[in-house]
Symmetry: C2
Subunit: 194 residues, 2 copies
């Protein structure tokens, strides 16, 4: 079996090379960008990463999840920011927490752009993104409750905060350079609404 792999060294991207998960994430984003999500098979991604299809599904729950590895870290950032916020109102707590998240993403704008483009091009990927944001909202609401915010204010503030994040993200990706500033501007626009 592996004797053939020893011969074809170059074509076989180091099956035991480190960071198979990272290689899969890169390969997936490349392929989704090059030929689109639907036109890419998991076998394609695995081949480019130098592993088998089965290995892909050991690292990611499904074909979509490979684009959403950072969701957990983002959620931790938001929850921690709410837990340690010095703000007075629920909206302010969520707002500053979203700013922290924005600062974190700010550092990898090119990656965020490419990823956002791939997601925008496919409803299946949009669904997964919406679910991640909903989970983020639920976690934020829970963190608000831990700070003493009662229901339904906690859920409402958290959901509105996620909405602000979404709208600000689009503006940032679109043409604005400063993501945290987009958050602040969108929060201001929200206040002006009523």
């Amino acid at each position: 079996m592996m004797s053939e792999a020893a011969i074809t060294r170059l074509g076989d991207m180091g099956r035991w090379e480190p960071d198979a998960k990272g290689r899969l994430m890169v390969a997936a984003l490349e392929l989704y960008t090059e030929r689109g999500y639907e036109q890419t098979t998991v076998a394609d991604i695995a081949q480019r990463a130098g592993v088998t299809e089965r290995t892909f599904f050991r690292h990611f729950a499904d074909k979509r999840e490979v684009l959403f590895d950072g969701a957990g870290t983002l959620q931790e950032t938001v929850v921690t920011a709410i837990a340690t916020s010095a703000a007075q109102t629920a909206i302010e707590m969520v707002g500053t927490a979203m700013e922290r998240a924005a600062e974190m993403m700010q550092e990898r704008r090119d990656f965020a752009r490419q990823r956002a483009a791939a997601i925008a091009a496919n409803p299946s990927l949009q669904e997964r993104e919406l679910l991640k944001l909903a989970v983020l909202g639920a976690a934020a609401a829970s963190a608000l409750r831990d700070r003493g915010v009662p229901e339904p204010a906690a859920t409402l503030a958290a959901e509105v905060g996620v909405t602000v994040f979404k709208v600000a993200f689009e503006r940032w990706i679109d043409d604005q350079p400063d993501f945290p500033a987009c958050i602040r501007a969108t929060l201001e626009g929200l206040r002006a609404l009523q």
Copy 2:
């Protein structure tokens, strides 16, 4: 195969086995409720409805879509309400439009409950629901723009309106009897947030 049973009653409009789509929707909701979404195959649904698997996919894009047939009507209701609203602010337009939608759903509370329970039990179905709500938000934003509301206020108001709808829906399903009243109460809670 399809023996006698109930054939042609009033709708002689050119259908030979009446309402295959409706039977599929009923069968799907029943099975998703009885044994869960994952434990139900499309073949199961088709069999209970008295058709083949292929026919299911001629009526619905995928296994999830069978639960979301009413989304289009709901969207039309909201868009029409915004287009004909006499309210002054964007938030008020969206708020009253969501009230119209709530009135519409109010009539079938039991159905809404069973459907909501099935969706709540499965992340895949939640994803589809979130996508439908996102599309609804985009349509509402477009309707607001047609009424002269500028960006980003239109998108922001529409998204916040959808959030209010979501939160109010949960309260209605949970224990409140009056859905439109839930919308109004949630809108009031939103105002109180800032």
